[in-house]
Symmetry: C2
Subunit: 225 residues, 2 copies
């Protein structure tokens, strides 16, 4: 079996991505990043998802992005938007987050002898984050293939983004078809310790709408309906 | 004054790079990464260099790359080469190190409103690390300019590599001309706690030869001559 590093936040998209990678017969090494996010229950979800979906290993790496600030996800004094009315990239954007996470995945992949990295970015039902777009992923892959010792030996690394052009309802249907239990995933930006979701942040709104459009029961425990 | 993030390891090259950035009238934010390197005295040197060269701020961020392994710099059971006879990229290579460091610099730069990052990579007197080459830096810069919210607003980030094509002796001459005191820098891969250098690792060899060729006194305290 080929090895793959799968970035796993514990949310809906990354869990589906792990299910897809497993279904493609990859031996999956799940990488989660504790970057100082306020929704720490996400990391609990990541552990449950990794176990439930048969990742052969999970590693949680700590990088204190809160020290840099600049995001409502790492700075508790910035409120999470709950009106769903932003027109610009919202304050939940974390500077260079996917670049940092993919870089860490690249490091682990190289030490594992893996040339495949999976990330659950989506450029359809998303918050407009620049580091979720296909052109960004392509540029990262290009850079990665100049960055490593493995690359100098002719081993190309592929950045797999199986969800990138799918609407949320199609992602959910695919996960369900692969037997994924979404009740163990957490998407909410301000989930509480028990894992219940606010129901009103952008991430909750996008998730809810996805289940509605898919015509499927949403197993999420929301605090507000 | 324009702000710049300067990656600062505490070695000869990054110290010279900081001196150059200061000389170009940048307000310098020094970023050092505690990645589990065995030569921790490097971080002490980084603090001294940041202070000595007038960085307006220094941040040390911790990322445990030792957890991934794969390098003699993070795994104490792998010996540091001391014969100077490698033909391949040596075991001191740390997978994706510059990619991770530049990603962190990109994050900090964005939160500071800075569009300039300095890194002291060198592709002449070096150990053949792939992430020191001009084509790699260009690819990183290209990726960075698709990765951030700042980029979507038209703010391009430049990755400055003032040393990339200079032989070591030219780097040293430039630093001396800018008043840099190299006695506070540490290049050695296995410097001891007091900051004295082994004298025989690749990094010591390259440094020593540079001072010799420059015809300048090497202020390094070597344990072996």
């Amino acid at each position: 079996m080929k090895k793959a590093v799968v970035l796993l936040s514990g949310g809906l998209d990354s869990a589906t991505t792990l299910a897809i990678a497993r279904n493609k017969q990859f031996q999956c090494y799940a990488l989660s990043v504790d970057y100082g996010q306020r929704h720490e229950s996400e990391l609990v979800a990541a552990r449950n998802v990794a176990r439930s979906l048969g990742a052969c290993s999970q590693h949680v790496i700590k990088v204190d992005l809160a020290a840099f600030g600049g995001s409502a996800l790492t700075n508790h004094s910035i409120d999470i938007p709950i009106t769903g009315q932003e027109t610009d990239i919202p304050v939940t954007y974390v500077p260079a987050r996917n670049t940092i996470m993919l870089s860490l995945a690249l490091a682990w992949a190289e030490t594992l002898g893996s040339h495949d990295i999976f990330i659950g970015v989506n450029a359809v039902d998303y918050s407009g984050y620049p580091d979720c777009r296909p052109e960004y992923i392509k540029a990262f892959e290009n850079m990665a293939n100049l960055a490593t010792k493995a690359a100098t030996k002719g081993h190309k690394t592929a950045i797999h983004t199986p969800l990138i052009m799918l609407p949320k309802e199609a992602i959910i249907r695919q996960g369900i078809a692969l037997g994924l239990d979404y009740s163990i995933t957490i998407s909410c930006y301000q989930a509480d310790e028990a894992g219940s979701a606010c129901g009103v942040c952008d991430s909750c709104r996008i998730r809810r709408t996805g289940f509605n459009k898919a015509g499927l029961m949403d197993p999420t425990r929301y605090r507000q309906s």
